[in-house]
């Protein structure tokens, strides 16, 4: 039996760095692979685990005696996965193939933890990019990322020299965001709508209530340097392609697998597997991102902040949790932090900045396996505090602001 700690630690082993006025508290630790998280209106924290702990894949922490420590633990759901969210009286959680939901009663207790309803099942899971992250709009719909089980839709995946397929057949049932109604149960892929396409793996997904639109962060392709050293040297291959942040409307195409975003040229560059040379542009009909971040940092979660606790500058801006890179090797790894993008009216109003840093416990990170924590999930509490999860050591931090 693993030892679980749910009490707040006074002296965290890895202190995270925050802007002036902000403080953090560890509210959970040692839960293993904590992926996405959700906080209910009563303050309950839900964690979706990608590896079962004592046979369970969802943990709820509750501060029963209201002393500021979430000492009460409820575990349920015997499946692993990433996605979790609370919407209109239900807790939603995903495996890599399905979306489940659990009814909440008036006391915000799970009515039947062992018998969830199935909202959608049979979603594509070919292991690679299989995490099903979710969000909800204001009109009763749920949105799910179905990642492409591929690097860049080559005839032979990740095979040096293998050409890209046109059209890419993967886009039929993956490589995009699908929309489903929350009013129906037992749906299959065909019951949903392919809301947007051309996304390799949109692991960060959230609804911007200010402008009523979907926003996503996408993991860019791997192996530009390794497979095309004549076009991309080691440093360029570490910086490119950009990790991307998009505003997405129904029917939009973000261009994968044909192009990648290049934040140095600010262009959609044709991928070499499709005849690109590092300069040629492609996918003229694809939309451009709002922000292109340095490569491979792995934006695992997105939170459009509409809370009232943080200073005005943060209102309607975006927090993005970067898991931290692996394929910048042999260059130092990058990421392992939470970034903030200031925004108003749905568009960035300034440069992105690192908001919460120090999760890796070292700088620079040369050996990924030594990184202490890797930010993976984000959510906001009812008081406007922001929570960050870690799927390396299973921690959750609560970040608060005091004037």
């Amino acid at each position: 039996m693993p030892f679980l700690t749910v009490v707040a630690q006074k002296q965290p082993d890895v202190p995270i760095k925050l802007p002036a006025g902000f403080s953090s508290q560890i509210v959970a630790s040692n839960f293993g692979r904590v992926r996405h998280i959700a906080v209910n209106a009563n303050g309950d924290l839900y964690m979706k685990l990608d590896r079962l702990v004592n046979g369970k894949g969802i943990y709820r922490l509750r501060d029963k005696n209201k002393d500021g420590i979430m000492e009460d633990t409820l575990a349920f759901g015997n499946y692993t996965g990433t996605g979790i969210g609370i919407y209109r009286g239900y807790l939603y959680a995903t495996s890599d193939e399905a979306i489940y939901r659990y009814q909440l009663d008036a006391n915000q207790d799970i009515v039947n933890p062992d018998k969830p309803e199935i909202v959608v099942s049979g979603l594509l899971n070919q292991r690679q990019h299989a995490s099903k992250s979710i969000t909800f709009d204001l009109a009763g719909n749920i949105y799910v990322n179905i990642g492409a089980p591929s690097n860049v839709c080559q005839e032979k995946d990740r095979q040096k020299g293998s050409l890209g397929m046109t059209p890419c057949p993967i886009l039929e049932n993956a490589g995009g965001i699908w929309q489903f109604s929350t009013a129906k149960l037992n749906q299959k892929l065909a019951d949903g709508v392919r809301y947007a396409t051309g996304m390799r793996n949109a692991l960060g997904i959230d609804w911007n209530t200010e402008v009523n639109d979907l926003y996503v962060t996408i993991h860019g392709r791997d192996m530009l340097f390794q497979d095309f050293p004549e076009m991309y040297d080691q440093k360029r291959g570490a910086e490119l392609p950009s990790e991307t942040f998009y505003r997405v409307k129904k029917g939009d195409d973000c261009g994968w697998p044909y192009i990648h975003w290049d934040h140095f040229q600010n262009k959609k560059i044709l991928n070499p597997e499709y005849g690109g040379d590092g300069k040629k542009e492609g996918a003229p009909n694809a939309i451009s991102p709002l922000v292109g971040f340095p490569g491979h940092m792995a934006p695992n979660a997105l939170l459009m902040y509409n809370g009232n606790q943080f200073p005005d500058k943060y209102k309607h801006g975006a927090f993005i949790a970067f898991h931290g890179s692996w394929n910048r090797t042999p260059e130092p790894q990058e990421g392992f932090y939470v970034v903030f993008v200031p925004m108003k009216n749905g568009v960035p109003t300034g440069k992105w900045e690192v908001f919460a840093d120090g999760f890796s416990g070292m700088s620079p990170v040369t050996n990924l396996s030594a990184a202490k924590h890797r930010p993976t999930g984000l959510t906001m509490g009812p008081d406007g505090a922001v929570y960050v999860s870690d799927d390396k050591a299973g921690y959750v931090w609560k970040i608060s602001y005091k004037k």
Binding site: L52, E97, P116, I118, N327, T329, L368, S369
Partner: protein, 161 residues
């Protein structure tokens, strides 16, 4: 509820692994040995001496084709790319190991109690010499001490294709 039961059965089939709190610490902490030093095999697995030049050439192949995924310390990437240290896939059967390099690998596989998502591409474009060198390097780095792989062994496996 039938669907859930089916899914549970499916997950069991996939061998979803039990939680291991210390997994991250299980992997060996050995560093890449300097290519210029000759590695003296200890232990009982191999009595053969390892050619330091072969180790050096193997490291060059490793840095170019393997390091991005398996990392400089051979510890891989959690959830994505498996470690090369202390696993039976590296230190066990040489024919299986040579086959993984030649044909790639994209089946659910549990390695030291963990599963990994990313497929490995076939590396049959490497020469017999390069494969022998890199596998000799991998089998004698990162804490592994499992003896060399010869060009003849690679040639024989490639001919079986």
């Amino acid at each position: 509820m039938e669907n859930i039961l089916q899914e549970i059965a499916y997950m069991k089939q996939l061998n979803i692994v039990l939680f291991c709190l210390i997994a991250a610490h299980c992997s060996l902490k050995a560093q890449v040995k300097s290519a210029s030093k000759s590695i003296k095999p200890a232990g009982t697995q191999s009595k053969q001496t390892i050619d330091s030049r072969q180790m050096g050439n193997g490291k060059k192949v490793y840095d170019l084709y393997c390091q991005a995924c398996h990392q400089a310390d051979g510890n891989g990437v959690p959830r994505l790319n498996p470690p090369l240290s202390g696993t039976v896939y590296v230190n066990g059967s040489k024919t299986r190991l040579i086959d993984i390099v030649l044909k790639g690998l994209n089946t659910p596989l549990e390695i030291n109690g963990e599963e990994y998502e990313n497929p490995m591409a076939a590396h049959d474009f490497l020469t017999d010499q390069q494969i022998a060198d890199v596998l000799t390097f991998v089998r004698n780095s990162f804490g592994n001490k499992s003896g060399p792989v010869t060009i003849a062994e690679v040639k024989k496996q490639r001919a079986k294709k």
